[in-house]
Amino acid sequence: MTTLTKDAGTPAPADAGAFLSVRDLHVSFKTEDGVVRAVDGLSFDVERGKTLGIVGESGSGKSVTNLTILGLHNPQFTTVEGEILLDGQELITARESELEKVRGNKAAMIFQDPLTALSPYYTVGRQIAEPFMKHRGASKRAAWDRAVEMLAKVGIPNPKERAKDYPHQFSGGMRQRAMIAMALVCDPDLLIADEPTTALDVTVQAQILDLLKDLQQEFGSGIIFITHDLGVIADMADDIMVMYAGSAVERGTTNEVLRAPQHPYTWGLLNSMPRLDSDLGMPLNPIPGAPPSLLTPPSGCRFHPRCTFQDRVGGTRCVTERPLLAPDRASACHLTADQKRTIFLEEIKPRLA
């Protein structure tokens, strides 16, 4: 992943560096029980044509981050700090009318559950045509033709007729294809896919993932792919960011993060997941405990209550001092680089093979 020096205001040239950059993002919600710090100091970049995979468990802040990028949070209860630059445009301070020009045009989103994300009252074709009319000023006729073309592209058989159908007449996999068609209709530069295949069956998931990859080649969009499934991320992403309790704990290229992971949480995730070729004699290696409440997050390193490598750091550093995530390939952990390498090679990797 490339890191950029901040240059707010001047739009970055189209082909160089990050298209989206998020800097020191903090998102918190006011609730009856107190303030939930859902995202706590997050920075990342996405380049055109590349896929950034965000992995994390529920409550790690991965979805909140991406809703915030598109301004889909409820401003009444949400405090957002930091900087989100999309093609040089600052989105946090942007007015609603400006955001409307971004959403569905420059940046689009694919949601997890296509049945609740599509409107039951309008035909699929009309829902796909609508953003094209709004953002491109196309006529009703032209937009409809474009919708049919998009449906054909995502593999809906007989698209001319099926465009007149309502979402309930589509199967789960077809609805997700329709969502992808809708997201890509204005040829966005950024596509946010929030667990797009979690609700689907495994054979359909494989179709949709391959379709997204192939369409990305054609459209050249940057993709933020959010999932909890390391297998899916291995298949899709160029770069990976692992999130835990509201902040990133590790990032790097897919190869680096999956083949030479550095953070104890990433080790835990890899170790706890059964694979089709894993050793059957041994029990799985779960991460002890449960993810923390974000109302009262743990002091120091957020992962320390569940971490089994704390004693290797020594002292109380893990409890008192929050490890920072350096730019580029990095992990937020107090272990030294040598320790990380040897622990992975000697203690974690043998258990994976």
């Binding site: 529920s58 995502v154 069956d201 054979t203 080649q217 291995a234 059964p274 894993s278």
Partner: protein, 370 residues
């Protein structure tokens, strides 16, 4: 967590390997109502259509398939939460397929169920103690030292703090709630547990905890499991024998080794090749596995295809597949106990092929261009 768990001795041990539950020709059709002004039955959802399976004492039998294939309905039929349309279920030689409530009562205490959703399967208005002692109360069981002592024991077995006896479900996390569900299932010392997607609602790091717990319970207490799940890797980890379902039928069954490394049915091949995997070797791509991408979704179980139900999505389908339903038999080349329902089975390997099978038209078109 559960390392020093207290395990009660089995009362009447049965030899491992003898059949505990035998199901044959099990069928469940749900009526579809429609019409105006008089609503009448206009069709049937053929959720489960004539399946045979045997769960042996102390073994874990896995049932995999995609949504709508009838795996959950099978679980509910076996626990007799649903009345079968046809076929027979026999538990330890006793036919329970249409047994009355009274006849079922003694059997029900031996067959327990763990549900998928740990949020909706626990009564929010009851304490943990009440939830876990419920089965004992209903069956009038008074263990030595009282029910409360037994509940505390069970809480310890599943790795929860016995002090939490008086807490309510909302005070627990998802993984802990699923442990409560396991404790409730263990309360009557069952011989068979039907676990319907017991870990799929949990986070990855928590899933492993619950899988380990179930595995310990299965091994230490010798309880047989019917493990229903869609996650092939979890089923492989947990079950010694596995059946693959498609549209209400078992299309392939065999021991773990046979299903995962020597599958014969095209659908099993497609299913295995679709599982996204983290490859740990350094050569990038998913290390020499075959790539099969089916077209479209599973057809409707209201009017399933004639003959072989998979033929509409199968790359090997011929005329015979439409007219003749393939029987579930041991086809040539299979080891004993490995049954496949297919006229034109695949080679018993999951190695990469010379050419990928891509049936999805959009995908094929895009890949042609690229």
């Amino acid at each position: 967590m559960t390392e020093d768990m207290v395990l009660p001795a089995q009362h009447n041990p049965v030899t491992v390997g003898e059949p505990l539950l035998e199901v044959s020709g099990l069928t469940k059709y749900f009526p579809v109502k429609g019409g105006f002004p008089i609503r009448r039955t206009i069709g049937h959802v053929q959720a489960v259509d004539g399946i045979d399976l045997t769960v042996r004492v102390g073994e874990s039998f896995g049932l995999v398939g995609e949504s709508g294939c009838g795996k959950s309905t099978t679980g509910r039929l076996i626990t007799r939460l649903l009345e079968p349309t046809n076929g027979s279920i026999s538990y330890r030689g006793q036919d329970i397929s249409h047994a009355s409530r009274r006849e079922l009562a003694p059997v029900r205490s031996e067959i327990q169920m763990i549900f998928q959703d740990p949020y909706s399967s626990l009564n929010p208005r009851q304490t943990v103690g009440k939830i876990i002692s419920g089965p004992m109360e209903i069956n009038g069981i008074e263990p030595d030292g009282g029910r409360e002592k037994r509940v505390r024991e069970l809480l310890e077995i599943v790795g929860l703090n016995p002090e939490h006896y008086n807490r309510f479900p909302h005070e627990f996390s998802g993984g802990q709630r699923q442990r409560i569900g396991v404790a409730r299932a263990l309360a009557l010392e069952p011989k068979l547990i039907v676990a319907d997607e017991p870990v799929s609602a949990l986070d990855v790091s928590i899933q492993a905890q619950v899988v380990n717990l179930l595995q310990e319970v299965q091994r230490e207490l010798g309880i047989a499991f019917l493990f229903i799940a869609h996650d092939l890797a979890v089923v492989r980890h947990f079950s010694q024998r596995v059946a693959v379902m498609y549209l209400g039928k078992i299309i392939e069954v065999g021991d773990r080794e046979a299903i995962y490394t020597r599958p014969r049915h095209p659908y099993t091949h497609a299913l295995l090749s679709a599982v996204p995997e983290v490859s740990l070797t350094d050569d990038g791509d998913s290390a020499g596995r075959e790539r099969i991408r089916l077209a479209g979704d599973v057809p409707s179980p209201i009017s399933p295809p004639s003959g072989c139900r998979f033929r509409t999505r199968c790359w090997k389908a011929q005329d015979k597949c439409a007219t003749e339903e393939p029987p579930l038999v041991q086809i040539s080349g299979n080891h004993a106990g490995h049954l496949t329902a297919c006229h034109f089975p695949e080679d018993p390997t999951t190695e990469a092929r010379d050419e990928d099978i891509v049936l999805d038209p959009a995908l094929a078109a895009l890949e042609e261009e690229g």
